[in-house]
């Protein structure tokens, strides 16, 4: 790890201002991803602003009948919350499908959204990577690409976003609430929060420098059957090859988002509309424009089959 100075912030606005004031500063909350990357010197912040003392660890009802999840709510606490289990089962299931219990006990809601790709070339500091070192090239393209994106990738980067939680939040139309260094607040729909790589894969979110996530809000409950199905190489504690987050109503209508296939949780309004016609039609819409390599072409039939399993499960639950 490179040396860094450290401070504990007392308010969200103070934290945002502190990061804006120090060049190369970063927020730290759970630290489970950031510290790992700092040990490898993939991240080397000169200053850390610890946000753990901020009062952002509550889950509260919103006026609209939804929930507001504080940025510091730990993944375990979010998955165990009675309201989340009852009304947003897809989110609880997605959280429980990710990482290990030890990591979920520490990892936060905001940090989960901001975690970085697990592309092995991003992690290997001996190899070029446009995300790690802008302009250096992409080692994954032409490399071993079994885990990589089939949708939304670019000539500069084909990494996937690793989060399970974010996929469920995308299906639920969550909104990310932030405060900027000047104290101004804004709300970013989850659909616009993660950016596609284009030619700037190192810019991963819509956040501005120093902008701090304060909470994530969920609209009022959708009802229906909530399913998160994750396909991975091990039964536990592994990242998704493909995952499907779905909320399906009794009449077969619903919404679906994919994980493990793109640089961000993947959703398509046209695919949602075709859901009553079955997995084949919905998968065709979701995967329109997919670009595969020999290594990751298996993800296309896997998406369709996982979606078919999810819709079958929803029918038998309804």
């Amino acid at each position: 790890m490179k040396p860094f100075t450290y401070e504990r912030a007392r308010t969200p606005a103070e934290a945002a201002a502190a990061v804006a004031r120090h060049p190369g500063a970063k927020f730290i909350a759970g630290g489970t991803n950031l510290l790992d990357l700092m040990k490898l010197q993939i991240e080397a912040p000169a200053h850390l602003v610890d946000v753990n003392a901020l009062a952002l660890d509550k889950i509260e009802a919103t006026q609209e009948g939804g929930l507001r999840i504080g940025a510091l709510v730990r993944n375990t606490a979010l998955a165990a919350d009675e309201r989340v289990r009852r009304d947003y089962g897809v989110l609880a299931r997605a959280l429980l499908a990710g990482a290990s219990a030890q990591l979920r006990n520490k990892a936060t809601t905001a940090g989960n959204l901001l975690q970085r790709t697990r592309c092995p070339y991003f992690y290997d500091t001996n190899q070029p990577c446009n995300k790690r070192q802008p302009g250096s090239g992409c080692s994954a393209i032409g490399g071993y690409t079994r885990q990589h994106a089939v949708l939304g990738a670019s000539q500069a980067c084909i990494a996937t976003h690793p989060s399970d939680m974010a996929v469920a939040m995308r299906a639920l139309d969550a909104a990310v609430e932030t405060v900027k260094p000047d104290g101004q607040r804004r709300v970013i729909p989850i659909a616009d929060f993660h950016r596609l790589p284009g030619d700037t894969p190192h810019i991963e979110t819509a956040l501005e420098p120093g902008e701090l996530i304060t909470s994530v809000s969920l609209p009022k409950p959708l009802g229906g059957t909530h399913i998160y199905r994750k396909v991975r190489d091990r039964a536990s504690y592994a990242f998704a090859l493909v995952s499907v987050a779905a909320v399906v109503q009794r009449d077969g209508s619903g919404r679906v988002a994919l994980g493990g296939v793109a640089p961000k949780p993947w959703r398509d309004a046209g695919a949602d509309a075709t859901l009553p016609q079955g997995a084949k039609a919905a998968a065709a819409r979701l995967l329109a424009g997919a670009r595969t390599t020999e290594d990751n072409a298996f993800k296309l039939p896997l998406v369709e089959r996982t979606l078919a399993a999810v819709l079958g499960q929803a029918r038998s639950a309804a």
């Binding site: 790890m1 040396p3 860094f4 100075t5 450290y6 730290i28 630290g31 489970t32 510290l35 790992d36 040990k39 850390l48 610890d50 753990n52 375990t76 998955a79 165990a80 289990r85 009852r86 089962g89 609880a92 299931r93 429980l96 499908a97 990482a99 290990s100 219990a101 030890q102 990591l103 006990n105 520490k106 039964a235 536990s236 504690y237």
Partner: protein, 215 residues
Amino acid sequence: MNSHNPLTVSRRGILIAGAATAAATSLAKDAMAANESPPANAGAVPTASVTLEVNGKPHTLNLDTRTTLLDTLREHLHLTGTKKGCDHGQCGACTVLVDGVRINACLTLAVMHPGAKVTTIEGLGTPRSLHPLQAAFVKHDGYQCGYCTPGQICSAVGMLDELRRGIPSHVSADLNTRPLLSPDELRERMSGNLCRCGAYSNIVEAITEVAGVKT
């Protein structure tokens, strides 16, 4: 073998060459030191003070801010029961309880935990008075080399508490009913602790016995 081949170098030859390079480098550094003032931050690694309660004893430490909780326990407090396996949160050997909750001590900084109550394997039991899980691991032979065992036991203590608090898992069939301990639940909930000797079946037996007695 052709002794004139430049690629054929003896091990002794490499050692001598290496020493020569090191000497040259050190001379170059001395020359630089004489001509250049050191960078402003040279030698001043940022530190911070933190007070932790570890196994019931308070400790105030002034630490390099980079010090993980794991390195604090092992290198500063000499509590070497907590093990460093991967140091990247993948193996679980460093699992400790912080305010009663199991976490990977390698993926958190000590300075992030002012006032925290940390429990390590040394705080769970002693050789004369074993924690029930320690006794059960011995009885069921829940290890071979033993390196992962402190992490397994601290993790199991945290896991049984999570179960008592009704926290669901990936394999819980119904999110809205209280989860019960089954072999499937136990394996899923302990998946953050790897055992490269593969003592898993005995670990499951040891934890199951203690869970059955306690609940």
